[in-house]
């Protein structure tokens, strides 16, 4: 079942188009990464999910409910960690968790939630004394306390230290394991790559691509790099012979390391054989996939052209 289903969803302010005919399906239990530069329209899409803003045209169903007509049910079954907020600075963290649980109509277990987000022992302190990272943990705790079926995270790593980021990723995976659908919006590509099953790339209001990261790499071509370490510095003719192989798009050498961009996975073994034929001994082989960052740049630049 699709937890989020957008059909031709658009949002315009006068002449300005913020979202342009978005078609998107996010399935139950998946961790979906939503990528895009600032101003791409990610937060606007999230706002429309929860009826904080209304679309200009198109349909949007969330958890099987119309996002506008049945927004109350949608918000009761969802939880959002927004990007940029302040908490009630004079109230203790525990009270925030209790408030979120009460409003959501679920049992309040503040100690358990506080421990889960790494705030064990800090629940009785006023939130004004918290660091930015602690506030982010507390807000995440508020979202978890409401026990949502759909977890919407907008730049969730903001303010978190490396331990906090790791803990966040663990929580996201745990939630997905118990059937919660996670909508993970971030510009930090490595985090999206670390936890997400599929990603959508949004730029200037247009959804440029939606797929698993591997599939996106394949679709864009030149999806991997072959790094060969050889026993001697390669001569120009050796590199030229590698360039002539079908499936090799670029060759670069740095000392005894040859870097080959491969559009065809099958060309890798040919390249190793060709290198040996050129009188070089291959001492190490490493294959690097293109990073999500490169993919992201490729897609957004292609969208701009």
């Amino acid at each position: 079942m699709a937890v989020i289903e957008a059909n031709a969803l658009s949002k315009r302010y006068g002449e300005s188009t913020v979202l342009d005919s978005i078609d998107l399906q996010v399935e139950e239990g998946e961790i979906f990464g939503f990528l895009g530069p600032n101003g791409a329209g990610k937060s606007t899409f999230i706002d429309i999910l929860l009826d904080f803003r209304r679309p200009t045209s198109g349909q949007l169903s969330v958890l099987g409910h119309d996002s506008q007509r049945e927004s109350k049910i949608v918000r009761q079954r969802s939880g959002i960690l927004p990007d940029g907020y302040e908490l009630y600075s004079r109230l203790p963290g525990r009270q925030h968790i209790e408030f979120a649980a009460t409003v959501a109509g679920v049992d309040s277990r503040p100690d358990r939630v506080l421990a889960r987000v790494g705030l064990e022992g800090d629940g009785d302190q006023p939130v004004g004394s918290y660091s930015k990272g602690m506030c982010q943990r507390l807000a995440l705790g508020m979202v978890l306390a409401s026990d949502p079926d759909l977890l919407i995270l907008d730049e969730p790593a903001s303010g978190l230290d490396p331990n906090g980021i790791q803990q966040l990723q663990e929580i996201v995976r745990e939630e997905a394991d118990r059937g919660t659908t996670v909508f993970f919006s971030s510009h930090l590509l490595e985090q999206v790559e670390a936890v997400c099953d599929r990603v959508g790339i949004l730029n200037d209001g247009e959804l440029l691509a939606v797929d698993a990261i591997d599939a996106l790499q394949e679709a864009i071509g030149g999806s991997s790099e072959l790094l060969l370490t050889v026993d001697d510095q390669p001569i120009e003719s050796s590199l030229r012979s590698l360039e002539e192989l079908d499936g090799i798009t670029d060759v670069d050498a740095d000392g005894t390391t040859i870097r080959l961009s491969c559009s065809d996975p099958a060309v890798k073994s040919k390249a190793i054989t060709q290198t040996s034929s050129a009188g070089l001994t291959v001492t190490d082989v490493d294959v690097q996939r293109r990073s999500l960052e490169e993919l992201f740049s490729e897609y957004t630049e292609a969208g701009d052209r």
């Binding site: 918000r75 959002i80 927004p82 907020y85 908490l87 009630y88 009270q95 009460t102």
Partner: protein, 283 residues
Amino acid sequence: MNRKNVLSIAKHDFEQLIRSKIVWLGIVVLTVYLVYEWHTSSQHLIGSAWSIMIDPFVIMSPLYAIGLGYTAIAGERASGRIRLSLGAGLTRPELVAGKLLSRFVTLVSVLWLPVVIAAVIVTVGWQPTEATAVGFLGAMVVVTVTSTAWLGIALGASCSASTQLRSIAIGGFLVFLFLYAWQSILELLMFVQTGSTDLGIDITTGLVDIFDPAWFPYAVRVNPVNAFEATQWYVPNLLEALAAGETIDAAHGPNLFGLAMLLVWGTVPIAIGYYRFIHAELE
């Protein structure tokens, strides 16, 4: 609307407010002001003492109500906290109702606590007053109704505005209009109609019911400041007379209209702001 949710956000907001140093500073300032006013005017406190005793509220109650009201919803939007609250399952009507409840309870506490403290201090220290309990309580009811009217204006502005700056600008404009400009505007209209601005009586005391032009005492009381000044005399007089089984000779029409205007100010701006907020997009 879920009553549990309304009480939950109201409790959350109230507990945040009562921990505010500014709220406690307001209580201290009003207490000191009341003790000073009551002490210095104690030799005059006979019969209608309540009218002198609540004079400080003419200025203080709009300031306190606007200060408490303007951030109620606009502050939630500005801080981004509204996304957490609504995202947790709270509805916009529940948020407005909860905020109204918490701000009203805080306002009543901020106004009545100094009155109680000052009354104890003045009574124990100087035993000055011959004011009747009925009259004084009646006057304080008027103070509360007037403050609620100002809170309604501020909360309505807070619901209507997308930023705190706009909210305080709307509230500030109305305070300026009603404290300093309203009377002049009406007098100008009166001058155009009659060639004079002199009524020869205190228009707000409400003890006379014949005016020329007849619309003037009503138009004056559209202003919540004037409505307060009129009803602070009228309501306690009326209550005292009723308690004694007597009647009073007063301008019932304009004064009841003034009382009704206070109720209108306490509700209509909230209704308008509520409608705008329900249909507003969060930015």
